[in-house]
Every structure is written in structure tokens, then in C-alpha cells.
């Protein structure tokens, strides 16, 4: 009965047909034939589905974005500025500060005393990149990393800055990066969402996260990030309630299909069939997801790599390991957020705690992917929403200080998926305040990440209320210097 139901393709709508063919065929040649049609007059309907095919050969198939929420200081991690230690306590020269607007937290300070890193730095690897003593594990893998020291943004507060780097606009309900990828490329795994989100919190001063950061915006809500939680239900409502087991759920679904088939005979609405399929996918997810999120069966060498914390659900380490598993299973975009990097004060005490949370597992992820032969096709990104000031916020003492938000220059790193390994890209001035060579604006970062995924940032558009929107809006230049 059920099979017959699925075989009934006569009434299948254009939309369902397309979603099947476009995702299922996956052939590049066919893709280029289909794409022009997808972008013509009918696009409003068609644009609802994942387009399913890249614009050109991608370097990366999947992204794991290790977002460091709250903005870790570049001056204590990767952007080594000994001048700041030498000039500690002296005022930031006005010629360096220029016209930079300041947040309400330091705008009224009469002095801007420079302060150098409390932590030591050393050079590592063939690239000789400088890395802080706080990050010994990342230091070991610098030759896999593409460290970008010249990220910059316009936003000076968390909410707009986070919203900007995640959605391409400081305000407004735009789709986030992951949603664009889901829309542009679809899912590689029928049993898992294309865009998954994992949240964790560190011990430093934190800023909240909010669902706008993983929103589908005006795209279809199938492209919304699905939050995986560390509780007993990895995806909301995944777990059957007490008393329901696999068999009883199956019995119910079989009867449901029968009833729906009878309903279809009356209504003739093809949407009925689509609904039956959604229930079947939900059922498959109920098996696939818990198998995947169960970290208890991870072998010892993996636990050793990521650290014992990776067995504690909800920690950053556990999320990084889960991210690897999701990504390996074909999830297009796994977005992590680790809160606690907002060191306006007490930086020398708080930052090591945050570093301890993320250092080992972030580095382990790179090595793990490499060992599995997945690093080439997986793009890993590590970094926050802006940088921090080279001067002290609040009372200045040499061993306890804070740093305010700084948009003009900050550091992130990327690895794998088509970026150049073992390079440090871009330069900041001796004060670590301004970019002096090779700036990478948020829009450029987006354009480049999309390029690595085989998408032209100017072509992946969605027409909404009369206007074609892009992740990069009206800007964005590729950064060829970091592409392998």
C-alpha cells in the first residue's frame, strides 16, 4: 500500500520533481544546463528549494565554523606586538587612532594607555607564525593554518557585529551564512539538516547568542539552522515520548500513510504525498541523529586528541567532536558558538580559561580531519566578530587590564578546504591598531568562503520583495592571496 503510494508520480508537482532531480542527480554538466532556467522568470517559486549545485568546481564541500563569541583579543593570541609592552602606559598616539569611533564604554576615557600582552609569544612551524603561550596546541599545527590578521568590520558593538559576520548585514532579518549554503548547495545527507548549530559557554565574561544568527531570514525555513542540544534530545522533539519505541512508531506511521492515502483520494492534493515523505524523514532522523550524537563510543585515541572534556555533553570540546561527526556525515555547515570572550576587564585571568576550553579540541579537529582525509574538503574557520583595543579599558595596571571592542583589525584563522596552509596573511601596524597591508573586510571574507564552496557570491541571489539579495549585499571582493 505504502509503496504504491510513493510510486504514484503522476500528480507530482513541479516543485517536488525539481527538488528531487536537482539534488539527486548531482552532475555538474547537468547543473550548468539547469541553472540558467533556475534564474529566469519563475525563480520565485524555484528559489524556494535548495539549488543543489555549485556554480563551479568547489574546493570545499563542507564548513565547520568555530565561532569565538564575544571577540577574543588578537593581541593575546596571534597578533604579536612587542611595541605595546615597551610603551605600556603611554597614550595611544592620536595619529594612530585617527577618526575611529569608540564605544560608549571607553568614549569618555581621558586617556588611552597602551598595554602589551600579558602572555608570551613564540614562533612556530615552517611559517614562523607567532602564537601566544596560551594556545600550545594550536601552535603545533600552525603549518596547517591560514592566519588572517587583517579582518575588519564597521560594527563596534556585539549585536550588530555578530549579525554582520553571520548574515552580511548589521541589522535586518537576513539569512545567515549557513542558510545561504543550505539554499545554494542543499544537503548531502537526506537524514540530517544541511545547517546545524552547536552552542557552548566558557568561563569568561559572555555575550548571549540569538536565533537571528542562524536564521533563514526570507529564505524558506528549511534552511534555518537546526540547534543541536546537549540534553537528551539532540534535536528538538526528536525523542519519542515514554512508552513509544521504534516498532510502535513504525506501526503508527504505516497507518498514517494509509489514512493519508485515503485523504489524498478525496483531496487530490500532491502536498499530501510531500507530507508523508516528511514523516518518513523524521523517522529516519530519529535513528540517524542519536547514533551520530552518541560520543560515548568514541575510541580512546580520539578522546585523547580532543581531551577528556569532549565526553562532557555541552562543552566546546564535545561540540567540536560532534561537529566533526556531523560534517563527516555530510552536514553542509556546522556552526559552533563558544561564549565568554568579552574581556573588558580582568583579561589576564579570564582569557586563559577561555583558551583552555578551545585550544586542544580546535587543534584536534584539524588533525582528526587530516587523518581521515577530510581536511581537503572541509573548511574550518576559527574567530570572533571583531578585535580588541590595544589600549586599556578601565583602570590600568600591568597585570590586570581589559580591552574594549576594536573593529579595524583582528585575527581569525582558516584551515583545510582550499585555503593556503601555513601562511600568515595581511599585516597590521606596530600598534596592532590599523591594517597596513591586505585588509580582509567581512564582505570579502564572505565572498571568499562562498568561492571556496563553489559559489559565486554575486550569483547566489534570492529575490525578496522586489530586490535580489546576496550574502555580500552590494560589496565583497575575493581574497586570492589565501586561496590555495
Amino acid at each position: 500500500m505504502e509503496n504504491e503510494f510513493f510510486k504514484n508520480r503522476l500528480n507530482i508537482t513541479r516543485r517536488h520533481f525539481l527538488s528531487k532531480s536537482a539534488v539527486g542527480l548531482g552532475s555538474m554538466a547537468l547543473g550548468s544546463l539547469l541553472m540558467p532556467n533556475l534564474f529566469t522568470g519563475e525563480e520565485e517559486n524555484l528559489a524556494q528549494l535548495p539549488l543543489g549545485l555549485p556554480h563551479f568546481a568547489p574546493k570545499a564541500k563542507r564548513i565547520i565554523y568555530l565561532f569565538q563569541n564575544g571577540a577574543p583579543s588578537q593581541l593575546e593570541t596571534f597578533d604579536y606586538k612587542p611595541l605595546l609592552n615597551k610603551m605600556a602606559g603611554e597614550d595611544l598616539p592620536e595619529s594612530i587612532r585617527g577618526t575611529q569611533r569608540l564605544t560608549g564604554m571607553t568614549a569618555n576615557q581621558t586617556k588611552f594607555p597602551l598595554i602589551g600582552s600579558y602572555f608570551g609569544f613564540k614562533q612556530y612551524g615552517q611559517s614562523g607564525a607567532w602564537v601566544s603561550d596560551m594556545l600550545p596546541n594550536m601552535a603545533k599545527i600552525v603549518d596547517e593554518l591560514c592566519i588572517i590578521k587583517t579582518m575588519n568590520t564597521e560594527a563596534i558593538n556585539h549585536d550588530p557585529a555578530l549579525t554582520f559576520i553571520q548574515t552580511g548585514a548589521q541589522v535586518g532579518n537576513r539569512p545567515s551564512m549557513g542558510a545561504w549554503m543550505s539554499y545554494g548547495l542543499g544537503s548531502e545527507n537526506k537524514n540530517l539538516p544541511a545547517f546545524c548549530v552547536l552552542l557552548s559557554r566558557g568561563r569568561g565574561n559572555g555575550q548571549g547568542v540569538y536565533s537571528k544568527l542562524w536564521t533563514n531570514g526570507f529564505l524558506d525555513s528549511t534552511h534555518q539552522g537546526v540547534v543541536f542540544s546537549s540534553g537528551e534530545d539532540p534535536i528538538l522533539y526528536l525523542k519519542d515520548s515514554d512508552g513509544i519505541d521504534k516498532d510502535s512508531r513504525r506501526r503508527m506511521l504505516d497507518k498514517l500513510a494509509e489514512l493519508n492515502h485515503l485523504g489524498f483520494e478525496t483531496s487530490g492534493d500532491p502536498e499530501v504525498q510531500a507530507k508523508v515523505q516528511q514523516y518518513e524523514m523524521a523517522y529516519r532522523m530519529q535513528t540517524a541523529v542519536p547514533e551520530l550524537t552518541d560520543l560515548s563510543k568514541e575510541p580512546d585515541h580520539i578522546v585523547k586528541m580532543y581531551g577528556p572534556e569532549c565526553l562532557v555533553p555541552g562543552t566546546y570540546a564535545a561540540n567540536v567532536l560532534l561537529a566533526r561527526k556531523l560534517s563527516e556525515s555530510g552536514v553542509r555547515f556546522v556552526q559552533l558558538y563558544h561564549q565568554g570572550w568579552d574581556q573588558h576587564g580582568n583579561l589576564p585571568n579570564e582569557m586563559p580559561l577561555q583558551a583552555e576550553d578551545v585550544d586542544r579540541s580546535s587543534a584536534a579537529l584539524i588533525m582528526d580531519l587530516k587523518q581521515r582525509g577530510l581536511l581537503d574538503e572541509t573548511l574550518v574557520i576559527w574567530g570572533g566578530e571583531f578585535g580588541r583595543t590595544n589600549y586599556c579599558q578601565g583602570t590600568f595596571t600591568k597585570d590586570n587590564y581589559g580591552r574594549d571592542h576594536h573593529p579595524r583589525a583582528y585575527t581569525i584563522w582558516m584551515a583545510g578546504g582550499g585555503v593556503k596552509p601555513g601562511i600568515v596573511y595581511g599585516e597590521t601596524d606596530e600598534f596592532g591598531y590599523n591594517v597596513i597591508k591586505d585588509p580582509v573586510h567581512i564582505n570579502d571574507f564572505h565572498a571568499t568562503v562562498m568561492h571556496l564552496m563553489g559559489l559565486n557570491h554575486e550569483q547566489l541571489t534570492y529575490k525578496h520583495l522586489g530586490r535580489r539579495y546576496r550574502l555580500t549585499d552590494v560589496a565583497g571582493k575575493l581574497v586570492p592571496g589565501i586561496i590555495a
Binding site: 529566469t40 564605544t103 552552542l199 542540544s229 546537549s230 528538538l236 520583495l465 530586490r467
Partner: protein, 781 residues
């Protein structure tokens, strides 16, 4: 040009031959009958402007700053003028495509000459080129944009008098006939009752109502039901649900730490306004300018209710992030109000003119800031205080017990503490408004004064006055081409699942054209002439034969009109997120039907708020409500903007980040998971099963009753068979496993009935859940 056509045709032929599948795709995408044939007479508004606007106006349109080659194609003067770089040539020569640069460029074989340029990623199809060619041949007649011309009632077309109930049907029938379609039969009574009950109140009909309606064979049986539902107190709730999206209503401030706000009395007012059937003119003016209007009682000062209504313009998000720049956010709030105004009342994308002149519509950046000026007079701060400094930043009003006893009886205030609500106020001295260059808050350009885009209707201060009061007069001016059309279209979409103009939020050049332009205009004029009477309009719609058709879809429908644009059947529509919840609570008999009051916090998976918070503020932890608050309607579920209620988002509700006038409708596995596993959904089945178990009667009678409660119709024998089998099988298994029966019934906080035969009750519960998961259940059919 011929070669090009041949080439294109050959290209597609190649596709068809080489890849079978591509042929299907191509046929599918182009089959939309609308575009297949070239009409005898080409109409600028319907055939040409959509093409020019979408592919050409970005560089050759209203925005002077990005205009290429000094050529504009959105006005006849621009298109017929001599070209700047070749004064002998013209972009368009009426009657002569081969002399028209536009035509030569869009058909050019030289890729450096071709328009739109290759790098724009925009293309014209052969069909579009043919249309432009014929239009030029026929004289290239420009027309003003349809939505900016004042609507007029045209003659009501003739139609099959046996079918027609009111004028709506004449217009709809006429179009249907043009497309070779015939109306469906009238829906069966049960289907019709479920439909109209859900549409008017958001709630399914009770079995008692079903019985009553089935038995009533009088000719006005349906009208009686309609009148009953229109007077039902839940009518206001259903209507308000849509308006809360428009007004971006929420229970938190929306940025970062996202503290609590208490705007819910304003929400109670919206429900009240619909239930009291305030004319749209009053509904609109009180919300936009209630603080400035004279009190109808003659006292001069606005009433508290009028003041409360102005909360509409303060529902935008407000930051509490320490360290933000005050002016940056104050400007952000004014921007939100301006954009919301454009979208809510005019369905225009004002926001596109914030940084530069609008690329498609005649709204200049100066127009934008002239409109901005109306909303720029509020004595407010960008940052009033950090988290929990205020539940209602000034200007605000206090609502006391005394108010609720006398003037504001509709507010469901639960305790004696006063409630603060944000409202509108203007500064005593007019704040100068400047054009903000590139939209930057600190980049002041020229100063501007109150005004609105003249392309819609000139804003004459001597006629309308200054400030928001003038704005209201301008909106309600009979000459305003948009106000009535926009609202009528939105109400229409509530009942047909699609607007006459499909893009509910865009009546501009890039919006869709109306499917039934004369009907839209007729309704718009009628609505205004009859005193902006919302309930009358709603009744007009639900009484129509068009609305009453059956929703059965035939092969012919799928072939000729899959999207049901021409309304030869009723549309099947998945319920709104809020109403999915209402549906289960109400039909299972556990709904608390109280109206209004502070929003409630139902069951929610653990940790959602906690994991996303910085730990600051009163909303950092989710504290679930209990008892009757658990069973309130979906529209009262607490909306914390940064972590909106998960089931609402899963069913496509707005996150209330900004004004929304149109929700998408998706069908996803996550929705299936909610229906199967959300305790709120299961609990209803449990309680209903317990109650039915205690009732007298055979199991068949109980199953049938459950079916009627959940699906709002009697089951067919084939359906009964499936359900009977399922119940028998499950109860057999559960009898052998009493522990499992116990576990199944142990769900939700709703009081348990003392049941002896737990296996039967649990099996019945399983069967009811099966019914709730049927595709038909949460559909308006």
C-alpha cells in the same frame, strides 16, 4: 536577431535531446500558461514594466546616482530622448524596433554590446524579447504604475447567475472563464464549517456546531453560522494574529541580553479593536497618531485608549547593550518605524531608499527622509539603560487598576501592579531631520521637512498639516491609491491563501501584478465607501460562492492552474503556527479560552534560553507556567525575540525581528517531530482519551466521536476500518504490557481521570494521536 532565436532554440533542443530530465524541467518552468503566447495587445503595466524593472531599471531607472549612460527607461521622456553619446539615436523609437537602441542592444550578438551586460548575471528570455519588440511596434505606450493610480469601480462583469452570490464571484467567474476553468461544486457542509470556523476564529468547530449545521437545512444556515462566528470573541484574536506580525509585537526588547518588555496591553487593544469592529480608518489613525487626535468626548486630550493604540510604533526592538552609541540606535528606531510604515500601510519597500534613491520605485532618498521626519520627533533615547532598566522606555504610559475598571476594560490585567506600556509622543520643538548620506546616522546631508513620495500622492502641508496627524489624513484621502488596496489585499490573502497581488508586501514595480485587477479595485473602493468596515469586508468574502467552493484538486487544476491563481477551487492551507497549537488544545477540550493578558510560558525543551544567554537579565532563565496558563492560545505564547518559541518558528511564524506581512509555508520533518513528540500536542490526546474512556458507549462510537472532534467531519467507512484495526492491535499489545500503558498516559500536567482500563485508554490515546498527525488535521481544507 533571427540567428539568435535559432541559436537559442537549438540550444534548448540540444538540452532536450541530450538530457531527458532537462526537458521536463524546461517544460515545467515555461509551461506557466501566462507567458506562453504573445498577446495581441501588449500592455506596458502587465507585460513590459515587469521585465524592464527587473532587468533594466537598476542602471536605467529612478536612481540618478547609479544611472548608466544618462539613460532612464522608466519614463517615456527618458526612453524617447536622444542618446547622450549618439544624439542621432534613441533608446526607443515608437513603432520601429530596428531603430530602437534598446531592441538592438538586447538582441546584440556582440557580448560587449549585449544588454543586460553579461556580468550582471541577468538575462532576457526570447519570449521577453518578443514582447518588447511587439510593444515597440505597437507604439511603445507607457502607462503609470497601476498601484499609483487611484482605484475606480468598473462595471461588474456578467457571470453564471446560478453560481454568483455577490460581486466577488462575478469578477472571479469572468477570469475563470477566460482561462477555460469552471468553479468547483460548493464544499460539503463539514468542510465548509471547518474552513470558516478556522478562518474566522482560528479554532475548529465543536461536534455540537457540526451537528447543528448539518441538521439546519434552511437556506440561510451558512449565513447564520458566519454571523455567529463573526460575533465570537475569538474572531478578534484570529484577526489580531496577522496584525501582530505587521506590528512586530514581542515580549522582549530584542537585542543581545534581550530584557523583558510589557507591551501586551497594546496586544489586548488590537484584539479589542477587531472585536469591536473599529473601522480600518480608526484602527489606523489611532495607532499612528492616537496621541495627537482630539478625544471624541470633546475633552481635547486623547483618551487613554487612543494613547495605548500608539504602542504600534514602539514595538520595534530596543537595545540594552552597554557601550552602544546613543544616536546610532535612536536613528535605528526611527528607521524601523519608517520602514514599518511603508510596508504596513503602503506595501512599499521604503527601506530601499534609505541609503540611495530607490532602484525601482519612484521613492527618492529625500522622500525617505521626509517620511522619516514624521517618526523622528519622539523624545526617546537610543540606549535608555542596560538590561532590565526598564520594561517600557519613555515615552510611556502607566495602566492602573482604575483604568482597567473604567476605560480600558479589555485589558486582562492579572495583578494590582500598574503596567507600563511604551507609547508615542512628539517633542515640543520639531527636531530637524536630515538626509543621512549612505544611511549613516552621523552623516547629515540636506535638511528635509515632512513629506511623502509624490508619485503616490503629493503631500501638501496646507491640506494635511504637519506631523503624524497629517500622515493619517494623507493615508485616508480618497485619492490615496494604496491604503485601501493594500489592506483589502491582505485580508483577501487570509481567506484564499494568496493575495490578489501575490506579493503582500510589495505593490511597487518589482511586486507581482494583480491577478484580478478590477476585483481588487472594486473591493478597495467598496471598502472605503462603506466606511472601512472590516467585518463587512470579511463577511463579503466568506459569503461569496468563490470562498464556498470545494477544495478538491483535479488533474485539470494541476495542469492549468496549479497555484490556484484563478480560484476555480478553494485552496488547502496549513494553519498558522499559533493555530496549530490552538487546534490541538481546542479540539481535545483542554484549551483555556481566556482573552489577553501577560504572555505565557508553556512547556519548552530544557535549556533553550539558558544556553543562549549571557546570564544577565530577568529572561536569562525560562520559568515555565503551570495549570490553566499551559493551555492558552498560541498567540499568547511568550515571544523572547532572541530565542523565539521553537514550535512557532518550526511552523513558520515570524521571529518578530521586523515588520512582516507574509509568512512562508513550509512542510518539514521538524514539523512532523513536533506533531508526534511535543508534550503539548500529546497531552490533548491523553486527556481526550481519558474522557472518552469514561464515557458510556461502544469503542466504535468513541472512535467516531474522536474522529469528529479532531478532523471536524464524520469518518468514511474505509477510514474507520484503519482506525479500528490500529486501536485493536495497540490495545492488544498494551494489555500485555500494562507498564507501557502507564508510561504513555503519564504525560502533561493536566489533571488525570481515574481510569481502570489503562490499556484501552492508552490505545485510544495512540489512536487520537494518529488522527492529529493526519495531513488533513492541521489543514484548513
Amino acid at each position: 536577431m533571427k540567428t539568435l532565436t535559432v541559436k537559442i532554440k537549438y540550444f534548448f533542443l540540444l538540452c532536450l535531446v541530450t538530457v531527458g530530465i532537462a526537458s521536463v524541467v524546461w517544460n515545467c518552468t515555461s509551461a506557466s500558461a501566462e507567458t506562453a503566447a504573445i498577446p495581441d495587445e501588449i500592455d506596458y503595466n502587465f507585460h513590459i514594466r515587469p521585465i524592464l524593472s527587473d532587468r533594466c531599471f537598476k542602471c536605467h531607472g529612478p536612481d540618478a546616482n547609479t544611472r548608466e549612460a544618462n539613460l532612464r527607461l522608466d519614463t517615456p521622456e527618458g526612453a524617447f530622448a536622444a542618446l547622450k553619446d549618439n544624439p542621432k539615436a534613441h533608446a526607443i523609437v515608437a513603432g520601429n524596433p530596428d531603430m530602437s537602441a534598446v531592441f538592438l542592444r538586447i538582441t546584440s550578438k556582440d557580448s560587449t554590446q549585449l544588454m543586460p551586460p553579461v556580468e550582471s548575471n541577468l538575462k532576457l528570455t526570447q519570449h521577453e524579447i518578443d514582447l518588447i519588440e511587439k510593444w515597440i511596434k505597437q507604439g511603445a505606450k507607457y502607462k503609470a504604475h497601476w498601484a499609483f493610480i487611484e482605484p475606480k469601480k468598473t462595471n461588474v462583469p456578467k457571470a453564471d447567475e446560478d453560481w454568483v452570490v455577490n460581486e466577488i464571484d462575478n469578477f472571479v467567474y469572468d477570469k475563470m472563464r477566460e482561462k477555460g476553468l469552471k468553479p468547483n461544486e460548493e464544499a460539503e457542509k463539514e468542510q465548509l464549517l471547518k474552513r470558516v470556523s478556522l478562518d474566522l476564529t482560528g479554532l475548529p468547530p465543536t461536534v455540537e456546531m457540526q451537528e447543528r449545521f448539518l441538521k439546519d437545512t434552511s437556506p440561510d444556515a451558512y449565513e447564520k453560522i458566519v454571523d455567529e462566528l463573526l460575533k465570537n470573541k475569538h474572531y478578534g484574536e484570529k484577526m489580531a494574529t496577522y496584525w501582530l506580525d505587521v506590528a512586530r509585537y514581542a515580549d522582549s526588547h530584542g537585542y543581545q541580553d534581550d530584557g523583558l518588555r510589557t507591551m501586551w496591553p497594546w496586544r489586548d487593544w488590537v484584539i479589542h479593536a477587531y472585536n469591536e469592529n473599529y473601522p480600518y480608518s480608526k484602527f489606523l489613525s489611532w495607532q499612528l497618531a492616537g496621541d495627537l487626535l482630539p478625544n471624541p468626548d470633546g475633552s481635547g486630550k486623547p483618551s487613554k485608549e487612543m494613547l495605548l493604540a500608539t504602542g504600534f510604533n514602539r514595538n520595534h526592538k530596543i537595545t540594552q547593550e552597554g557601550g552602544v552609541i546613543d544616536e546610532e540606535y535612536r536613528v535605528e528606531y526611527v528607521t524601523d518605524r519608517t520602514n514599518t510604515f511603508g510596508k504596513s500601510f503602503l506595501s512599499l519597500t521604503f527601506e530601499c531608499a534609505k541609503c540611495h534613491d530607490h532602484k525601482y520605485d519612484p521613492i527618492s532618498q529625500k522622500d525617505y527622509y521626509s517620511t522619516f521626519a514624521f517618526f523622528n520627533q519622539v523624545p526617546e533615547k537610543g540606549l535608555f539603560g542596560t538590561i532590565d532598566a526598564s520594561y517600557a522606555d519613555p515615552p510611556n504610559m502607566a495602566i492602573t487598576d482604575a483604568d482597567v475598571k473604567s476605560l480600558l476594560k479589555f485589558i486582562n490585567k492579572k495583578d494590582t501592579a500598574k503596567v507600563m506600556v511604551m507609547v508615542m509622543k512628539d517633542t515640543t520643538k520639531v527636531r530637524t531631520t536630515y538626509v543621512l548620506n549612505r544611511g549613516n546616522y552621523d552623516a547629515h546631508g540636506d535638511s528635509v521637512t515632512f513629506g511623502l513620495p509624490k508619485s503616490i500622492l503629493s503631500y501638501d502641508t496646507t491640506r494635511y498639516g504637519r506631523g503624524r496627524l497629517g500622515l493619517v489624513k494623507w493615508l485616508l484621502d480618497a485619492k490615496n491609491p494604496l491604503t485601501s488596496r493594500v489592506y483589502v489585499n491582505r485580508i483577501w490573502a487570509q481567506f484564499f491563501g494568496r493575495g490578489i497581488v501575490k506579493t503582500l508586501g510589495d505593490f511597487g514595480m518589482q511586486g507581482e501584478l494583480p491577478s484580478h485587477p478590477q476585483l481588487l479595485d472594486w473591493l478597495a473602493v467598496d471598502f472605503r465607501e462603506k466606511g472601512w468596515n472590516i467585518r463587512r469586508l470579511v463577511k463579503q468574502i466568506v459569503m461569496s460562492a468563490t470562498y464556498r467552493q470545494s477544495s478538491t484538486i483535479t488533474d485539470k487544476h494541476l495542469k492549468t492552474d496549479p497555484d490556484n491563481i484563478f480560484l476555480a477551487r478553494a485552496s488547502r492551507i496549513r494553519l498558522l503556527a499559533e493555530n496549530v497549537r490552538d487546534y490541538v488544545l481546542s479540539s481535545s477540550g483542554i484549551m483555556n479560552d481566556e482573552i489577553g493578558g501577560p504572555s505565557i510560558k508553556p512547556y519548552q525543551p530544557k535549556g533553550l534560553w539558558e544556553v543562549a544567554t549571557s546570564g544577565r537579565g530577568s529572561l536569562s532563565r525560562y520559568v515555565q507556567d503551570h495549570e490553566s496558563d499551559l493551555y492558552r492560545r498560541g498567540m499568547y505564547v511568550f515571544i523572547k525575540r532572541t530565542v523565539p518559541p521553537p514550535t512557532m518558528l518550526i511552523f513558520d511564524a515570524s521571529n518578530r525581528d521586523q515588520c512582516e506581512v507574509q509568512r512562508v509555508r513550509t512542510n518539514t520533518p521538524l514539523q512532523a517531530l513536533v506533531m508526534m513528540n511535543d508534550p503539548q500536542m500529546i497531552e490533548g490526546s491523553r486527556v481526550l482519551a481519558e474522557n472518552l474512556t469514561l464515557e458510556k458507549g461502544s469503542i466504535d462510537e468513541k472512535l467516531e466521536k474522536a474522529f469528529r472532534m479532531v478532523l471536524c467531519r464524520k469518518p468514511k467507512e474505509k477510514e474507520m476500518e484503519v482506525i479500528r484495526q490500529y486501536f485493536a492491535h495497540e490495545s492488544g499489545l498494551l494489555k500485555k504490557d500494562p507498564k507501557r500503558a502507564e508510561k504513555l498516559l503519564n504525560i502533561g500536567e493536566y489533571k488525570h481521570e481515574p481510569i481502570k482500563d489503562k490499556a484501552s485508554a492508552a490505545a485510544l490515546m495512540q489512536t487520537i494521536q494518529l488522527l492529529y498527525n493526519m495531513e488533513e488535521a492541521i489543514m484548513r481544507v
